[in-house]
């Protein structure tokens, strides 16, 4: 128990260090921008007729620091604001705080990717088991081949192909936007069904492009376990087939468990292409838009959130794994 706490504290500490490192990276990145956007913003505000004090305050609200201050002071202010979960104010959505924009974009990404992740994981793992057990039969081989092909196709190619097939060639599904703009958003059937049908293609794209990876990993994991001595031993001890399959599945899925929980972390930043192609208002799109409009506070905020998600899932994975695998447990 004491060990557990020490490790937890250590992991959280190093996680915070990591977040600070990424935060300083974005800070200096913005400072390095061609034409120094912070200064430019300040000058623009002066030109709009603000007094230097007003302009300074406005810039500070947006970026978390004032351009006239020395760099060290700016950096400290920026970090201090971050520690209060204050990511600054957006430039393109005037007067709206970055955290507000991020919080409203996150659910779109989460629902989209989480559904795709769960679906691809379940189907991929199942197919992987079958591909491993039937690896010398044509069916098993074709499963493996399907997996490697789908694994090899990049997400944006997959998205474009699916979009072409199901919206242009066979116009079965709507293309672009998260829901039909002619319908009033609200808790009514037309809106929900519109949401649903608009989500099918993006979810499918995500699921299909990650399915191959799960299949291949699960297949090789099962094959490794099948070669383990204790599987032969369980056969020679005459254990029931169902018990043996349970042994194999339990041992084979453990390595995938880590990958799965890690994927949850990468979820936040993992759908840039899909959101772009299908015009979904999630975090990935937010990041792209912020770059398009040179909305640097928004960009740093979105990027920071994506990183924090990964770091958090790393820590959680580490601890969950030590619970799931008795060999790690003390």
């Amino acid at each position: 128990m004491k060990d557990f706490l020490i490790r937890l504290v250590w992991r959280i500490f190093s996680g915070i260090l990591m977040v600070l490192a990424v935060a300083s990276l974005t800070f200096f990145l913005v400072r390095m921008m061609p034409g120094d956007p912070v200064n430019a913003q300040y000058n623009q505000l002066i030109m709009q007729g603000m007094t230097p004090v007003q302009a300074e305050n406005q810039v500070k609200v947006m970026y978390g620091f004032i351009p006239k201050e020395p760099v060290g002071q700016q950096f400290v202010n920026y970090i201090l604001n971050l520690l209060h979960f204050d990511f600054g104010q957006s430039i393109s959505y005037e007067g709206v705080s970055v955290s507000h924009i991020i919080v409203s974009a996150a659910p779109w990404t989460l629902v989209l990717v989480f559904t795709g992740l769960i679906a691809s994981f379940l189907i991929g793992v199942l197919a992987g088991v079958i591909a491993a057990i039937k690896r010398s039969s044509p069916f098993g081989t074709s499963l493996t081949v399907s997996g490697s092909l789908l694994h090899g196709i990049p997400q944006f190619v997959m998205g474009l192909l699916l979009a072409y097939l199901f919206t242009t060639l066979w116009p079965l599904l709507p293309f672009g936007a998260p829901y039909d703009s002619s319908i009033d958003p609200g808790f009514n059937w037309p809106f929900i069904s519109s949401l649903f049908s608009h989500a099918v293609l993006p979810v499918f794209t995500y699921a299909l492009s990650s399915y191959g990876g799960w299949l291949l990993t699960m297949k090789s994991s099962v094959i490794t376990v099948l070669g383990d001595d204790f599987i032969l031993a369980s056969e020679i001890r005459g254990l029931k087939a169902s018990t043996r399959v349970g042994y194999i599945a339990h041992n084979a899925i453990l390595p995938l468990f880590t990958l799965f929980t890690l994927s949850i972390g990468f979820m936040f930043g993992g759908s840039v292409f899909i959101e772009n192609i299908f015009d979904y208002p999630g975090l990935g799109n937010l990041l792209l838009k912020s770059i398009d409009t040179r909305d640097y506070p928004l960009m740093s905020g979105a990027f920071l959130l994506i990183t924090i998600a990964v770091i958090l899932s790393n820590i959680i994975t580490d601890f969950l794994y030590s619970i799931v695998d008795p060999r790690i447990r003390r």
């Binding site: 031993a233 020679i236 008795p326």
Partner: protein, 341 residues
């Protein structure tokens, strides 16, 4: 012991153990490899008399482990049993039973103790849970009694039973795992037990105490034991009968002290001379010439030992000798019996 009295003893033993726990005939196992078909076990007949300990000796790659896997009908790919029969208790043929019937025999009637270096336990389940899995698979009604018996066995084996049952495999040392393996082989009251290099990776003292326990349990439960090893010492110490295996064939068999005191096959003689011993004259010891059998050895038409044999003749290259009686229960596969090197 004089020759006459030993022959007398043999008679008694032969009569007593007429019925065989396992009687395997004409076992052939072939491995398919990129270089061709390799007969890993060829025309092997082997009997395990009830209540006896039989030792099977062979170097690595001699096919001895394949043979006992064939008896269990559990040869793994790329190996395949080409022909043969394995009669259990003079009744059913293991190789002809349905998969489900075979499964019920494995583990329940025939116990198996794996190599010490092998991990025969599921790393993710506690030992106790795995005993329950075993019991459920073999339709044991009273699982509580099963656990109780397992504890009793573990205690006999010198282990802290409660602690072991609550442990995972990685929490046990090599010697402890091996004892747990023996418990698994015996907990369903199997009367035939196979031991495949079961003490090889253990320390001297652990090995000696494990062998001692096996000896005791065998006497008490009248077990039929087949012991497979490359270590002639372990086999000579424990077994009553001995089978010398070379390149997939039995080249000599008989009572242990008979075969060791009076070896007739040049391989047996060479092997005995080649092992480092604690007793006897060190200068008379000599390594066996040549290399251990490899895939080429298996493919020659004549005697498989030809290329390492000190007393070979041209005849040996043409034909392969059959295993023939030279005494009451002593058999040798050699054309040159009686010729000394």
């Amino acid at each position: 012991m004089t020759n006459a009295s030993s022959a007398n003893m043999e008679n008694v033993i032969e009569e007593k153990n007429q019925d065989m726990a396992i009687s395997a005939r004409n076992i052939n196992v072939v491995y398919s490899t990129p270089t061709g078909q390799i007969p890993a076990v060829r025309n092997v007949d082997i009997d395990l008399p009830k209540g006896s300990i039989t030792g099977i000796i062979g170097e690595s790659g001699s096919g001895k482990s394949t043979l006992i896997m064939a008896i269990m009908n559990a040869v793994t790919k790329p190996g395949k049993i080409e022909s043969g029969s394995v009669i259990l208790d003079g009744k059913e043929d293991m190789l002809k039973l349905s998969t489900e019937q075979q499964r019920k025999i494995r583990g329940k009637k025939i116990g198996f103790v794996f190599q010490a270096a092998q991990n025969s336990l599921n790393p993710l389940r506690r030992v106790g849970q795995q005993i329950l899995d075993l019991g459920r698979s073999h339709d044991v009604k009273d699982l509580r009694a099963l656990i109780k018996y397992a504890k009793e066995l573990l205690m006999r084996l010198g282990l802290d039973a409660d602690r072991v049952l609550a442990s995972y495999q990685h929490e046990l040392s090599g010697g402890m795992r091996q004892r747990v393996g023996i418990m698994f082989a015996l907990v369903l009251n199997a009367d035939i037990v196979f031991l495949d290099e079961s003490t090889t990776a253990l320390d001297m003292l652990s090995q000696a105490s494990v062998l001692e326990i096996i000896r005791e349990l065998q006497k008490e439960k009248k077990l039929t034991i087949a012991l497979v090893s490359h270590d002639i010492g372990v086999i000579a110490d424990l077994s009553e009968r001995i089978e010398i295996f070379y390149a997939g064939e039995i080249v000599e068999e008989g009572k242990t002290d008979d075969v060791l005191a009076n070896p007739q096959h040049p391989y047996t003689r060479g092997l005995i001379r080649a092992i480092p011993k604690i007793s006897g004259d060190i200068d008379s010891a000599e390594p066996l010439k040549g290399a251990s059998p490899d895939y080429k050895t298996y493919q020659q038409p004549g005697c498989l030992f030809y290329d390492r044999c000190p007393i070979r003749t041209d005849e040996c290259l043409k034909k392969r000798p059959d295993l023939t009686h030279i005494g009451k229960s002593h058999k040798v596969a050699c054309f040159r019996v009686g010729v000394h090197d």
